[in-house]
């Protein structure tokens, strides 16, 4: 559950990834176990059918295992998994829609995520109000901006990694994030400070 607070150990993950690609099933199992939550949470943002999400995650991992000789051992695995899962979900949902004569134009999957405030992290009542306000405005963001913000700040992925996952140009990622911050800035003056903070990270 806890994707935050306990950051992924990149070095350990790199070892698991290399070991998996070398054919070590035990390391592969650890890698699957370590990244499952992340993929599940991300997948559920696109699709309410949790069994379908699980099926797709399974397919992603089985494909990784089958193609392990062809994969690059020196890339971080998490963005790769996320990108594969996103593509696969799109493909499957697209299939389902086509086969039930759904409307062909709208095959773009929607990213649905609700941001909420965790009470236990807030001491002051005034902060509570601010946080609630911020989460409200985050929830009002357009879907693609929301997805970019979600990946950037809640999963700590880089601009290029997000570009790969969302299958868009890195510059488009910057644009999405900047538009999101501008929008937050207008609507939420306290956000200014945060925006500056994020700006220099992004």
């Amino acid at each position: 559950m806890e994707n935050r607070g306990k950051p992924f150990d990149d070095q350990e993950e790199a070892i698991l990834w290399r070991g998996s690609l070398a054919g070590d099933a035990q390391l592969f199992e650890n890698l699957v176990d370590q990244t499952y939550d992340l993929l599940f949470q991300y997948g559920c943002k696109f699709c309410r059918d949790r069994d379908l999400v699980k099926d797709c995650i399974q397919d992603v991992f089985l494909e990784v295992w089958e193609k392990r000789q062809l994969l690059n051992a020196n890339i971080p695995p998490r963005p790769y998994f996320l990108a594969s899962l996103r593509r696969r979900l799109h493909r499957v949902v697209q299939y389902n829609r086509m086969s039930t004569f759904g409307d062909y134009d709208k095959i773009e999957l929607d990213f649905e995520s609700e941001f909420s405030v965790e009470q236990q992290f807030i001491q002051l009542e005034s902060d509570q109000r601010l946080a609630t306000e911020l989460s409200y405005w985050l929830n009002e963001l357009p879907k693609r901006q929301k997805e970019a913000v979600y990946l950037r700040f809640f999963h700590d992925l880089s601009r290029d990694e997000i570009a790969e996952i969302m299958d868009i140009h890195p510059q488009s990622v910057s644009n999405l994030l900047q538009t999101a911050f501008k929008w937050l800035k207008i609507h939420w003056k306290v956000g200014l400070m945060l925006c500056l903070r994020f700006w220099y990270q992004g």
């Binding site: 059918d49 902060d127 700040f153 945060l194």
Partner: protein
């Protein structure tokens, strides 16, 4: 606005609940579906929720037919037993194991071949010429008499295995998707039948090609025509060192020395930085544990990790600082 950070920390995306047991079950299901590299079983089936409409079925049928035709044309060249025997000529004997037990065949040079059930081998009555050539279909364990001037060559499906004197397994069943060679002792060289320099490499006195050491194996996937070299799943100690079993009882032994002992006993390369691990003492009795469990324990003790890459074991860690 010092609390800005804590504000952001307090906001998080809503999570879909996933219990630990549910996740564990999902992970187990994935692991259960991994195609086993040893017993290449049935190709996996992917569960997809597709609601087929009739026009889609027709389209799929057409695709399937053209696809099958394409596959048939594109199919890589499969080489079977009969072809190989015909190529070699000479007067040959054939032994088939139709029983349920392994059966050992003695060759004229003193080598033995233990045929697994349902396997057969073709060999000349006496080995003449520069090579000892046999053809295998199925699975067998070879124990080859040493003769450096007359290499022993096993043809099995698309793989060619050349040895000077050693023991090894070949698994090349006709219907299997993979061909495997696993070495128990000594060294062997493996080539693909498709290798353009095959005949030259076979004649050369040295072992060219992909060379396998003990406890290494090669897996050739027939569909993709790819060879993959790796360690076997449960590396065994290579014979004569068994009397040294007590050597796995370590008492404040520097870990580098422990690694050396393992390298010798299993004849496996361990790659590590000797200077880093120079000062790490280990006390443990590792006798009777499989290799990987031994490594697990040692690595835990010195806070290192290991990865198996290309038949070698790479050990990574920060080494040991002076104890507090």
């Amino acid at each position: 606005m010092a609390s800005a950070k804590s504000l952001v920390l307090a906001i998080r995306p809503a999570n879909t609940p996933l219990s630990a047991t549910e996740r564990a079950a999902a992970v187990q299901q994935i692991m259960a579906r991994l195609p086993d590299t040893v017993d290449s079983g049935q190709p996996r089936r992917i569960v997809r929720q597709i609601h087929w409409q009739s026009w889609l079925r027709v389209a799929a049928a057409i695709l399937l037919i053209t696809g099958a035709g394409w596959w048939f044309i594109q199919r890589p060249n499969r080489i079977d037993y009969a072809e190989l025997v015909a190529q070699l000529g000479q007067t040959r004997v054939e032994q088939t194991n139709d029983t349920q037990q392994p059966r050992t065949v003695l060759l004229s040079d003193g080598s033995t071949v233990t045929l697994q059930p349902g396997s057969r081998i073709s060999y000349p009555v006496s080995f003449r010429g520069n090579q000892r050539e046999v053809v295998l279909q199925g699975e067998a364990f070879f124990s080859i008499a040493k003769n450096p001037v007359k290499p022993f060559v096993v043809y099995a499906n698309e793989l060619v295995t050349k040895v000077l004197g050693t023991s090894f397994w070949v698994r090349a069943r006709q219907q299997d998707e993979q061909v495997q060679v696993t070495v128990k002792t000594g060294r062997v060289a493996v080539f693909s039948q498709a290798d353009p320099q095959l005949s030259a490499k076979l004649k050369a006195p040295a072992l060219d090609g992909v060379v396998l050491d003990p406890n290494q194996r090669i897996v050739y996937t027939r569909a993709t025509e790819k060879m993959e070299k790796g360690l076997i799943e449960q590396p065994l100690m290579t014979g004569q060192q068994e009397h040294e079993l007590q050597a796995f009882n370590f008492d404040e032994t520097p870990v580098a020395q422990v690694f050396e002992t393992l390298e010798k006993a299993y004849e496996i390369d361990l790659v590590y930085d000797p200077t880093l691990f120079r000062d790490c003492p280990v006390s443990a009795n590792l006798t009777d544990l499989p290799l990987y469990e031994k490594l697990d324990l040692i690595c835990k003790a010195v806070q290192a990790r290991y990865v198996v890459i290309e038949g070698r074991i790479i050990i990574e860690g920060k080494g040991c600082s002076v104890a507090p």
